[in-house]
Symmetry: C2
Subunit: 337 residues, 2 copies
């Protein structure tokens, strides 16, 4: 199924008409799980994950053999306000690093046998500074969403979307603050490592953006105004994955804020996604809470790129390896409790 969006309303309509959990597959998975050679529930969350995966994947598909990691990169007009510890040219430099295989995400994707794609989105044309104007025109926003949609491999059986974009924790904080309320300072963290003065400035910039764009529309409209191309593309990829029944692992604060924009547009839009990890960025915890997601890993990562989610592919693979590979009590001749 190919698709091209010419208006945001088309995307809104699609969000309301997506595949649901396959209740038959879920029930079949639960019945099978109950027969495996272990005390009931002894694999803890791995059991929940296996049932969830089978329900969303549908049919009798149990194998994770083709995970895909897509890293989207974009530049942000708001970077000119000095909200990041790194200069804006690092976005393009890191794209080359991704392409040459030198970044953390390359190692983590390779380790888990994942295909990795890198999509650089108009890097030479940063978004508008959202303290002055909407970050993207509707056309720019649709183009970025479409790039995310198009980047998903129809043959993938698990999807991780990551990002690179100097200043994009500022965007993510503004997005979360606009959609969830509270003070800008509550949603603003150190990102790649700004100092105290930088943190104060960043929080002020977030507050300015929220004052200008908050309450001006639904999640998608807020994403257009405060987000960035890589956030829009992540959202597009998550929607595409749902349409293809490809379960998604969310990464950190920025990825989760893009997910929030979808969940705020249509309730349940992220039910096919699990939270890969809890970032060291403090605001990630309340953001995941708002999404109703419990992270799989808590290892203090705050890198983005999809790194935490890519590591969590191993947890999903472990869950499915046990579900699909274990013997039943009957097969193994093991006495039940």
């Amino acid at each position: 199924m190919s698709h091209s969006f010419s208006t945001l309303d088309e995307l809104r309509a699609l969000l309301a008409d997506q595949p649901a959990m396959d209740e038959g597959s879920y029930a079949e998975a639960a019945a099978h799980n109950g027969q495996l050679t272990k005390p009931p529930g002894a694999l803890g969350r791995l059991e929940d994950l296996a049932l969830w995966y089978r329900g969303w994947r549908g049919g009798d598909r149990t194998e994770i053999a083709h995970p895909q990691v897509i890293v989207f990169a974009g530049n942000h007009g708001v970077a000119a306000r000095g909200v990041s510890a790194f200069p804006a040219e690092v976005t393009a430099q890191m794209v080359l690093n991704f392409q040459h295989g030198g970044a953390a995400i390359n190692q983590l994707a390779r380790m888990n046998g994942a295909r990795m794609d890198v999509v650089a989105l108009d890097l030479e044309r940063p978004t508008e500074d959202f303290t002055q104007a909407p970050a993207m025109s509707e056309q720019d926003f649709l183009t970025a969403l479409q790039a995310g949609w198009d980047a998903v491999d129809g043959a993938a059986d698990l999807l991780v979307v990551g990002e690179m974009g100097i200043a994009n924790t500022t965007s993510a904080a503004a997005l979360a603050c606009a959609l969830l309320g509270g003070d800008a300072a509550d949603w603003t963290g150190r990102g790649t490592g700004v100092d105290d003065a930088g943190l104060k400035l960043k929080s002020e910039v977030v507050a300015e953006g929220v004052a200008l764009h908050g309450g001006k529309g639904d999640g998608l409209e807020t994403l257009r105004r405060l987000g960035g191309r890589e956030l829009a593309a992540m959202a597009g990829a998550m929607v595409r994955a749902r349409s293809l029944r490809i379960p998604v692992i969310l990464d950190g604060f920025i990825c989760s804020s893009a997910a929030l924009a979808l969940a705020h547009t249509h309730e349940g839009a992220l039910d096919h996604a699990v939270a890969g990890h809890l970032s060291a960025e403090d605001a990630h915890r309340p953001l995941l809470k708002a999404l109703g997601k419990e992270p799989l890993l808590q290892l203090g990562l705050r890198l983005g790129e999809g790194s935490g989610a890519a590591l969590a592919i191993a947890v999903m693979k472990g869950a499915m390896a046990c579900h699909a590979g274990m013997a039943t009590f009957a097969q193994a001749g093991v006495s039940d409790a």
Copy 2:
């Protein structure tokens, strides 16, 4: 280095004369880590793990290519007291399941490319009921420790030790209670899933064992009196791994109680080990706290077999893949902060 223990004092002497962290390797790893293309500390605990691994492995060894999982199985005289939800014959049945590749640990070991060994320890000859006598004679104990020592593959670069033994959470609870104090009830949990009456009985059995054997010697002597063959073998394997500079990932409550016996015999005896996960068995948290270990995963597992630690191999592999595979700022031409 082959070794055969004829007395416990020999093992005590060895514990006091084990390899230490290689400070040079650690410092080299820290310097390298500081040059990788990421903001400082952005990989969180993965960075700490990489430095820890390199320090214990020593030299310039960064690769985890040959992880080993060993599952030790033993039977417990105390099982006759009715402290488990499963009958004692399940130990032998599960050993067959391990050998045929049908258990959870088989899937998790395979997923992480680990060699898996299964060592059944005199299953037809359960230990003594520790409420009546020491679980093992000194000779039986030494034989089990030796089996653990001998099972470690000198070519392994990471070790997971797991266990199977109906009633062994009762042993582990008694061991923890005897070494750390507190009430038997605080250390006693539902294990594979005993009901309320079973839990009460189990707690009484633990209290009886601690009353009979507590305070009768150091960690090793307490392990002999309250442990089991698979716990002794796990301890033997951990000691052997230290002598070979093979870092260890601890599994759940039972594995950690065996580790505690070593740490109580010689301070620092477990510095080459990291906690793989936090078990759903409530007493695992204070036990890890006593060991000074922070778990890598918290997924509600309570299966044993080495399952949580085997899953955590992926976290260690991820840490080392990033450490060894990432480009430096200079190599990638990326601007530093």
